[in-house]
Structures are given as structure tokens and as C-alpha cells.
Symmetry: C3
Subunit: 279 residues, 3 copies
């Protein structure tokens, strides 16, 4: 079956399971991540205390690890939650926020990759490059200028994503103007979205939370569920942009409309707008 045909069941499973999601988040985007988790059909829980995250992870359906705040006890929190998530076989997402931007953050990333097995790693091109090859040109949390997927370098970036996926043993979701979702054999190229999405903080963090919901309700179909998640999210961004212009709004209105459209999204709306190519 094609991924578009499969999407019907992927959306139905979210409705059926209503996955409870443990998210380790950060002070900047925690609220948006919780709200978009609810919007796309999950129930968010966000604990930070290392002494409780094992209990909480265990009763959820999946786990999203956003490494945006690494101060104090947070790395211990991440490790205990991640290991428990592996132990109970939950779908587990890593968002390597800001990978490449600081030595300390890179060490944390290395520790996480060594200690925890991730079903999906979702990042911008700079973050994925750093996770995969320890190189990137990132300054801060946005992808570096040179780190992008274009029609010109698409073949190369697809091969790179498949390669990293094999190396790390995780589905790779590399997001940007063009998104690539890949395991070692198959890549989905997604051409949905609107450029104004990058003028909202946390569009990456929110996307990782969305991926968490999709794969936790579809643990046997992780590659396709991730691709559908990215395409649905970007499509919600397109629809949100259109409504934002009608409201004479701008980036903050777009943020609201983006979350709204993730809430309205269903298989039918998805199938009407998804632009996914298999490679």
C-alpha cells in the first residue's frame, strides 16, 4: 500500500489509542509542545524530576526527549526516562535541539545516543548532521545557512539520511523547506509547509512531539507514521498560513492557526494535501 493509503489507518490508530506521551521539554516550548500533543490526539505529561520520570514514563505510551535544557539534573532525568522507555519498549523520539552549538551539548548528545535507543531522531539539517557525523555549521538552535535540503542536493541528502539511519539505528526525520524521512532502505521526501513557519519559535520542538503521538499509536509502522506526521504538520502550516493571511495576521496568529489545524487534521484533509514522494 502507498503511504497515502496507509495514512487512513495511521490516523485511526491515534483516535483509538489516544497515546499518553511523556515529553521532556524545555522552558521555551513546553506549553506549545503540550498543546500540539493534545491537538493531534495525544495526552501530554511533562515531568522533570529524575526521581519520578521512570514511574511516569512507564505508564505512558511513548516518550519524546527534547534536549533543549541540559542544566542541573536534567541529563539524569533524560537518561532515567530514556532507559525506562527502552526497557518497556515504548516508541522513543530524540530531538537533538541545538546539536553542534556547544561542546557541552554535544557531549550530552553523545551520552544520549550511547545510552538510549531512539525509534526516531527528528532535527533540522544541522542537528541531524551533528548527530550523524559530528559536523555542522550551526549557531544556536536554527540550522546553519549552508545546511539545507534543496532540489539540487536532494539525491545526496537522501543518501546521507539513509546512511545516518543505518549508522544510528533510528528513523531519521530531517526537517527544513524540504523534509526527508528515512530508514536505511526507504526515504520519503515531503514538500509541504510554508516558509513563515520558521518565524515561530518551537516549530521543530512541536513537530517532534507530533511525531511522538503518531508513532506511539502506530508502533509497528514507525517509518510511515513519521512521514505522515511530518507531512500532516507541514500541511497544517500551509492551511494555517492561508487563514492567517485572511485574518490579516502574522507569525503569532500563524502559531495559533497551526495548532488549530493540527487539531482539525484527519485522514481526509491529509489525503487532499499531502505531497510525499517515495525514494
Amino acid at each position: 500500500m502507498s503511504i497515502i493509503e496507509d495514512s487512513k489507518e495511521i490516523f485511526e490508530n491515534i483516535k483509538k489509542v489516544r497515546p499518553v506521551m511523556h515529553n521532556i521539554s524545555n522552558i521555551v516550548t513546553a506549553n506549545d509542545c503540550a498543546n500540539i500533543t493534545l491537538a493531534c490526539g495525544g495526552s501530554p505529561t511533562m515531568a522533570d524530576d529524575p526521581d519520578e520520570v521512570e514511574d511516569i514514563t512507564a505508564v505512558c505510551n511513548g516518550f519524546v526527549l527534547n534536549m533543549g535544557n541540559t542544566g542541573g539534573f536534567m541529563v539524569e532525568t533524560m537518561l532515567r526516562a530514556g532507559k525506562k522507555s527502552n526497557e518497556v519498549n515504548h516508541p522513543t523520539v530524540l530531538d537533538p535541539v541545538g546539536a553542534g552549538a556547544a561542546k557541552r551539548r554535544n557531549q550530552v548528545l553523545e551520552t544520549l545516543l550511547n545510552e538510549i535507543k531512539f525509534s526516531v531522531i527528528r532535527g533540522n539539517v544541522s542537528e541531524i548532521k551533528f548527530a550523524g557525523s559530528k559536523t555542522s555549521g550551526a549557531k544556536g538552535v536554527d540550522a546553519a545557512e549552508g545546511d539545507k535540503v534543496t532540489e539540487e542536493n536532494l539525491d545526496e541528502m537522501i543518501a546521507y539520511a539513509k546512511n545516518i539511519s543505518e549508522k544510528l539505528g533510528s528513523v531519521i526525520a530531517m526537517s527544513g523547506a524540504i523534509d526527508i524521512v528515512a530508514d536505511k532502505n526507504t526515504a520519503y521526501v515531503i514538500r509541504n509547509g510554508h516558509s513563515m513557519m520558521s518565524d515561530i519559535t518551537g516549530t521543530g520542538c512541536m513537530l517532534s512531539s507530533v511525531v511522538g503521538v503518531f508513532i506511539s499509536a502506530n508502533p509497528d509502522n514507525i517509518l510511515k507514521a513519521t512521514a505522515v506526521a511530518l507531512s500532516a504538520y507541514r500541511l497544517a502550516g500551509e492551511l494555517a498560513y492561508k487563514k492567517t493571511m485572511e485574518m490579516d495576521g502574522y507569525t503569532s496568529t500563524l502559531r495559533m492557526n497551526l495548532i488549530d489545524y493540527m487539531g482539525k487534521m484527519n485522514a481526509e484533509m491529509f489525503q487532499g494535501g499531502a505531497k510525499i514522494e517515495v525514494r
Copy 2:
């Protein structure tokens, strides 16, 4: 006087006092809690440093303790702020976020209940059950499926709330599709609200902050002020839902409209829509 007649004075007192509220919050909902505190007529202050919370609590008019983040020094922060609030006789609200979800969190709750006297405990049914009887079926921060107030179990839940109130010495505000606010003698049953409110993160946290404002401006009328706070908040949700549908919006638009309607709320609007039954 009936609670509806009383409400006029309750709203007037908020305008008169404009209570300065110390909130210990969490990284997910702090911003929403601060904004709704402002909207309903308070002035929010949110400190986390254990070495300053006594000073800050002392100069405020009331204190709301949300136990959403218990990592690191936060329990010390909670205890120092709570004890100071008791010492200076300020109205004090506990929101036992996620009670029942993890052993560590339950221990924190027990410590808080032992060390601090709360004017009001505001939680969903699972959280209140855990605070009162150490039992609940909660997974994460949402109430468990079986933990709800319905027309069928209403008598039983009212008796339960009165019982817990007597046991803990606090007004109990148990929120859900039907809300119950009770002390040991009297219960108010509130039938306002819209189901979509539960698709926004932090509707519980925000409600606890609203209760804080209402009781801190009405310290001699805590039971009724709490019931008015819950009914007003749910009514704001009803009005917000109606406007959201007119705007063709969804959950994120609802969040905005909810805060807006708490800002517009006054005795007249309240009296036109409140559905409160005394039991």
C-alpha cells in the same frame, strides 16, 4: 444570601484589592497562569528561588502552589513559600498536579499536606482522590477514565468531597465535566463549561490560579469565592467556545478566547450564565 447574590460583592472585592498573587508554577503552564491571573484581576509574581520565596510570599496577598515541577530545589521552594504563607495568614491554594502518577510525586504531596495548611485544594477527580484517600487510577496529569463526576454518582461524589474537606481541613474544588466545590457542610455543584476545554493544556493549572485571585480578595468568604471562581471560569469557557466556532477556530483559538473572557467577566455576565446548585 444566595451565592449568585453574593457574587456581586466577590467580583467587587477583586477590583478593590487587585490581589498580588505568588504562584509557584511549572514550565508548561506558567505563562498561561500568569496571564489568566492578570485577566481575572490579580497581579502575578512567580519566584522559584528558595532563598527569596519567603520575602516574595510575604508581600503578596495570596499564594498558589502548583506541584507540577518537583525537581531539584523546588520542594524546598514550595515548603518555604507555603509555611510563610500560613504564617502571614494568606489564602493558600494547592494544585496537586499529577497526584497518583508517581511514587515521588505522592511523597511530595504528603509532605506538602503535612507541612502546609491549604485554604483550597483544587484538582481533577483523580488528583483529589489521591490527596484524600491515596487511591486513583491516574496515568499522567489527566484524570483517569473512571474518575469522573456524573449525574449518576453525584450524591456519592458530593459526600466524598465533604468528607475529604473535613479530613484535610481545606475547601475541596474537584473539577471535571461537573465541578464540585465543598467544605464539610455545604457543596456547590457547577454545571458550566464546554468539553473542548480539556483539549487545552493547563486548564486545571489556570483554574487554580483563578481560585487564588478570587479567594485572596475574599478571604472571609472562601467557600463561595471558590465556587464563583469555578463557575466563572467554566462560563468563560462556554463563551470562548461559542466565539471560537464563529472564528472557525479550534483549541488554540479557544485558549486565547478563554483568557479574553476571564478578562471580560464581571458580576453581570456571571449572573447571566452561572449554573450553581447548593447541596
Copy 3:
């Protein structure tokens, strides 16, 4: 050239540089600060880990230090980031949130003022008074009743701001119904804005982030860039208020529209609405 003529270049420089901004923020307003940084043309990065903030500060274009959360390792984080920012000569903003409200916070402020050189200190009148003279009547994070700039005390407050600027060696941005931006010789008095802005949490925090973007793209013109930032932000508030009323919204709608209008703001819109007097 007048500041209004200068503003064209100030806005152009932001477009040219697109400054990457390191913000140390707090759990209440971090998301809003990041979004408004993006809206006015910067790229936000918010690290909290003391072991990475030097690396991250160094690759940015400027640094905004909001002292809203001082618990645990945060003071170390602030000091390491601030010293690095000074070392690499980046424009550096201090927001002394809640100065005067607690002994501990005042000690933190004193340490920051002793150890870090700030290009701009942006606060409400109470906070600036405390930073400058160790006196204020503040309760919590809002300015005390008596601490405001009015047409009656304007001469006195201008002299005070110039005096504090000379004493502390920083441009002073004192915000309220009337804003004053001053160095030791020159003051700009800004009469833009709408009173409803103070019913949104974080309007001060967001403004400090906006100042950061403006001065980091205009490091050779810090006094004027700060005055333009304040006037532009207040003007965005006026336009946002107007649209909010048209939408039949209230404070939460205003927050959204405020960020939207900072995104739409440009030299032309600014020159059509700025009300800045040189003194």
C-alpha cells in the same frame, strides 16, 4: 540627523544582520521572548546550562539577561554568559525583573552589576530605581503605585535617568506609561503605547528582548536604537490594541496582535506613528 531619520538605517541593519540573540530568560515568559525576538528580526537561542552558555554566547550577536529565575545554578549561568558577552564585546541588555522585591534578588542584581558591563538596563520605574539607588516600593514584578513617570514629574525623572546612566555606565530604558531612554547627556521621551499592554504578562521581558535585537544590529548607535526599539514596541501595542477591539478580543488577543505587529513593523510604519521627544 534626527532619531526619526536615523530609524530607517536602524531597521535596515536588523534586516542585514539578522542578529542571533542569546537570551537567559525565565519559565514564565521565555516563549513570548523567543517569539518576539523572531518577530522583530532576530534569531533566539536560550540556554540555561552553565557549562554551555559561554560557547553559545560567543557565537551569537548579542545577549539579553533577564533575571526572573535565580534558583539553583542560574546565577552561575548568568555570570558566565555575561562575562563572555563582555569579553567578545557583544551588546548586552539587563532586565532586572523584580528588583527590590526580595533581599536575595537584590543581592543577585548587585552581583550582576558588579561583574558584568551592560550596554542597556531596561526595567520599570521601580526596578530602575532599585538598580540605581537601592530604593523602590515594589511588591512583586509590577512597578509600585508611586513609581511612575508622569507629565508632572517628567523633568525630575529625566534628570534621574541621566544620572543613573552616568553612575552605572549603561543606557537606561525606563518603561511605563511614558518611557524614558537616556544616557548621561541625552534623553528620549516616548509617548507611544496603550494601557492594556500592562494586562499581559511579560510585556517588560519581551521589550528587553526587542531592545537586544535592535542594539545587536546597531552596536554603534545604542542609545538611538534603544529609543527606536521602545517606541516601535509601544507603537505595535497601539496598533495591536486597535485590531484587538475590531476583533472584539481582549488581553490574550492583544498579546497575539502585539507580536504580529512587531513582525509587520518597518521604518515606514514606525515613522508614521513614533512619538519621540529629545530632551
